[in-house]
Structures are given as structure tokens and as C-alpha cells.
Symmetry: C2
Subunit: 280 residues, 2 copies
């Protein structure tokens, strides 16, 4: 049992962890990778560091947390649930904590081609929207354990399932037809999504569930009922979402998508979390 589970090991997640640890709390970080920062070639606008690659900055942050004995698990989050406490299920384990901090950044896993059909055939949450596609032809876009988790919900609703790995290697085995070539378009009409077009073929479908990579912020938000606006998670001045005990910061809550802002969010969220834990 931890005080706080922080999902994300980028600038916001690490900053939250450092502040919480120094406040005397017991945080754990869960993150599959270092997110968007990892892919930044060169950062030259972060105060105090003249020039550094995204990779090196991400590593510095992780080492800073490790120096404070903060556990960092490189695991894929596949489910988040609210029980007596908050439970985060990964591909390997299950973790429980009194508070939850979402800092996994903006879902770069979103397919921009699919955006126009969001809420009209494209969903990011099988538990939320699966029922609408009962006995229909469903596509799941994904290639790992999170896709399997979404599949485990959807397979009870229909037998007509196609898995699209979208050009990525399939990391898990599935007893369904799998299309591995890259998706080049999502087609439909005013009533919604009708067809997924890949490099080599096209497939008629009724609905499509996006489950690429780990469970993304937006999926978690939909899944547990966190209020969002324009794909940003809404937080109050304590960085708490509409669900008591769940906090968010960094790119996920919108604003300037910059390291400095994410770090500041993390420091501020840690203060909000401290207030919350003290009030319990």
C-alpha cells in the first residue's frame, strides 16, 4: 500500500514524486516509457540547463527520483479502478494507494485520422462504450497487453472482432484475425465510422476501439469518469480532478506543453495531494 501512485515518469510525474517524498510520503511511479520528452531532440529553453537532449533530461529526472529511493516500475498500465483505495493494474502487478496522480502526458497514441469519428464509431474505452456495439463488427487498434484488456471486455459482446496492430509488431497472441499493415484512413459518413483503410486493403466495421501502447490519460479519464474538456483533464486549484483523490498535471491538463510547466504542475499537485492526504 502506497500513499500515492503516480502514473508517468516525465517532468510532471517525477516532480510530483520528489516533492511528495520530501514531504514525507511514500509515492510509487508507474510508467511504461518516458513519454513525449524522450522524443525531443534538444531542449534549450528549460531554465538552468543550457542544452540537453530529451532522452538525457528524462534520464536525469528518473535518477533524481531513484536517488530519493522512489520506486519506479517500468510496467504497462492496463486498468485503473476505484475501490476502497485506488487500484492500478499493470501487465505484471497490481498496486494500491490512497491517492492517484495522472501524469502520463498527452496521448500521442491517438490516431489523428480517427479523430473525426470520436464518439461516432471511435472509442477509447471498451467498458464505457462496448455495449453500443453488441453483436456488431468491431475493430480494436492495438498491439500489446492493454489491447488484450480491452479485448477481454469486447469479446463478451460480439464474436466479430478484427485486431489492427497499425504497422506495429503484435506483442501478444490473440485468437482473432489480425491485420498488421498500417492504417492509412478511417472512412464514414454523417452517421459515423464505416471503414478502416490500411495500406493493402480496406475493412468494413461498425465501431473501433483505440488501445495502442499503454492505457493513455484520455482512456483512463473516460474509464473512471474523470471530467475532461477538449481532451484536457479538468482540475481545480489543488490539481484535483472531479474525483476525490485523483490528481492530474502536465500535458494532460492542457496549457503550455512545456517541460517547465509540467514540472510546476507536479510541484503544485504534490502540495494538493499533501493537503488531501492530511485531510483524510
Amino acid at each position: 500500500m502506497y500513499d500515492v501512485i503516480i502514473i508517468g515518469s516525465g517532468p510532471c510525474g517525477i516532480a510530483t514524486a520528489i516533492y511528495l517524498k520530501r514531504y514525507g510520503y511514500n509515492p510509487i511511479i508507474i510508467a511504461k516509457d518516458n513519454g513525449a520528452l524522450e522524443r525531443a531532440t534538444l531542449i534549450e529553453n528549460y531554465y538552468g540547463i543550457n542544452s540537453i537532449s530529451g532522452h538525457d533530461l528524462a534520464l536525469s529526472g528518473i535518477n533524481q527520483a531513484k536517488n530519493l529511493q522512489i520506486p519506479i516500475m517500468s510496467e504497462e498500465v492496463i486498468d485503473v479502478s476505484i475501490e476502497k483505495n485506488f487500484v492500478v493494474k499493470t501487465s505484471n502487478n497490481s498496486y494500491e494507494a490512497k491517492a492517484l496522480m495522472l501524469a502520463m502526458g498527452k496521448s500521442r497514441a491517438k490516431n489523428p485520422l480517427a479523430q473525426k469519428f470520436e464518439g461516432a464509431g471511435v472509442s477509447y474505452c471498451a467498458t464505457c462504450d462496448g455495449f453500443f456495439y453488441r453483436k456488431k463488427k468491431i475493430a480494436i487498434v492495438g498491439n500489446g497487453k492493454y489491447m488484450l484488456e480491452e479485448l477481454s471486455v469486447l469479446k463478451n459482446l460480439t464474436n466479430d472482432i478484427l485486431i489492427f496492430s497499425d504497422g506495429k509488431p503484435l506483442d501478444v497472441e490473440v485468437p482473432y484475425k489480425t491485420i498488421t499493415d498500417k492504417i492509412i484512413d478511417f472512412k464514414g459518413d454523417d452517421s459515423g465510422l464505416k471503414e478502416i483503410v490500411t495500406k493493402n486493403d480496406s475493412y468494413e466495421i461498425d465501431g473501433c476501439f483505440m488501445a495502442i501502447g499503454s492505457m493513455q490519460g484520455f482512456s483512463i479519464a473516460s474509464h473512471i469518469g474523470i471530467a475532461t474538456n477538449n481532451e484536457n483533464i479538468l482540475v481545480n486549484s489543488d490539481y484535483m480532478t472531479n474525483i476525490k483523490g485523483i490528481f492530474a498535471g502536465g500535458d494532460l491538463i492542457g496549457g503550455l506543453l512545456q517541460v517547465s510547466k509540467a514540472v510546476s504542475d507536479g510541484a503544485n499537485a504534490a502540495l494538493g495531494i499533501k493537503k488531501y492526504l492530511m485531510s483524510k
Copy 2:
């Protein structure tokens, strides 16, 4: 003529300058010293840097700005005025810009002993409050050119002036009685301040003007009519104060008094300033 004058070379001021420069603008930084950061022994909670002295972090920031050819003037700000543009007068020069960014941190020059008489005998702005003490017995607490600037306003109102350097060496010459021993108390009653007590003596006075060190954020705010609340400068979501073209960030606007938050404020304020300059 600059695009933006930034007062303060701490985390917020430097971050604002870096972002503005990279947006293609022409900022200048004016700062007498590196502020509160300079006095922080060790900083271990700033993302990306495991452990650094305040002095070294401040220097890194300044070098970062210098690498971008941003001019940094080590001068004391003694007056700020709003003309066609914004004019900042220092002990050596006068600078003009289309926008002004206040990032000089929280006034550590405030004397906590005097706090209880703020607005009741203690003032931070001769231009604002001098008139109330016409022909009365006035104290000015200060030891440098900013004190002289305040004196130049007050000497037209009364001849009865005492200068308190509050234990500091007097850096300028004044044709008034000067008390150099340390102030140990401000005394008065319900009607306000009555007496300044120093280590070796005590002095009856009617009013006291605080003008230690450079012109502090709070003094500038009072001086030009910037709205404040609980000694924090109020800003909107663009980090603009109630005066168009004047922005503020960092410790001056309150919130978490941390490097990360000041840096984030700087980045956000730069975006606000860019918006403002583009709209002109």
C-alpha cells in the same frame, strides 16, 4: 528601444527572456542581483538537476540568457514610469520598451517589524503617500540610490527628515541626519506609527518610507497603480496585470515560492507578452 524590459534575473525573469528571444523578440533584463535564489544553499527539488547551489543555478540561468545574446544590465531600478512606452530608470541609465515584465521576486527588503503599521505610518511609495506627511517628521529607511529617489520626492514636502540605513553602510551622501544603527522595533498605537527604536536610541516620527535596496516589486506596484492582493501582484491568465502591457510572474504573484513555479510563470508570461505585442 526594446520590445520588453524584464526586471529580475531569477528563474522567472530568465525564463521569460529565453522564451521571448526564441519567439523572435528583443528583450533586455535589468537586475541588481540574483534575488532570493542566490541565497538558497542547496536546491534538490528542481526537475532535471539532482543537486545545485542557488548561486550556481542562478549563474547557469544567466549564462543561458547570455548565450542567446540577451543583454543583462546589473543596475539598480530606481523608477518605473508609463509614458508612450514603459520607461525604467536605473542608477546609470534609462530604458524604454513596449512591454514590461516584473520578475524581481518577493521583496525580501520588507522589514517584518514594520508590517503592522503598513498603511498606518509605513509606506513603500513616496509618490503615492508623501503628501499625507506634508510638514511632518518623516523617516526614510534605505541606504542607496533608490532611497535618494524617494528622498527627492519627500524633501519637497517637509524639512524634517531622518535617514535610517538600518545597520547597512550608507552608499550615498545625504544632507540630512543619518542613523546607521540597526532598527530593532517600530512602535505606535491604534492611530499608527509613532516611534522607531534602534539598537542605541529611539526616534519620534510621523511617517516612515521604506526604500531599502532596489525598487522592489511591491513599491513598483504601488507606484504605478498595479492591483495587488495580500502583497501579491494580481495577474490574469496571460500573466498581465491590471495595467495593459505590464506583466508579472514568479514569487511576486504568489503561489508556490519555488524555482519550478517561477520558471513556468516565465514561460507562460512570455506567451502572454507575445500575444500582447502581436496585438499592438
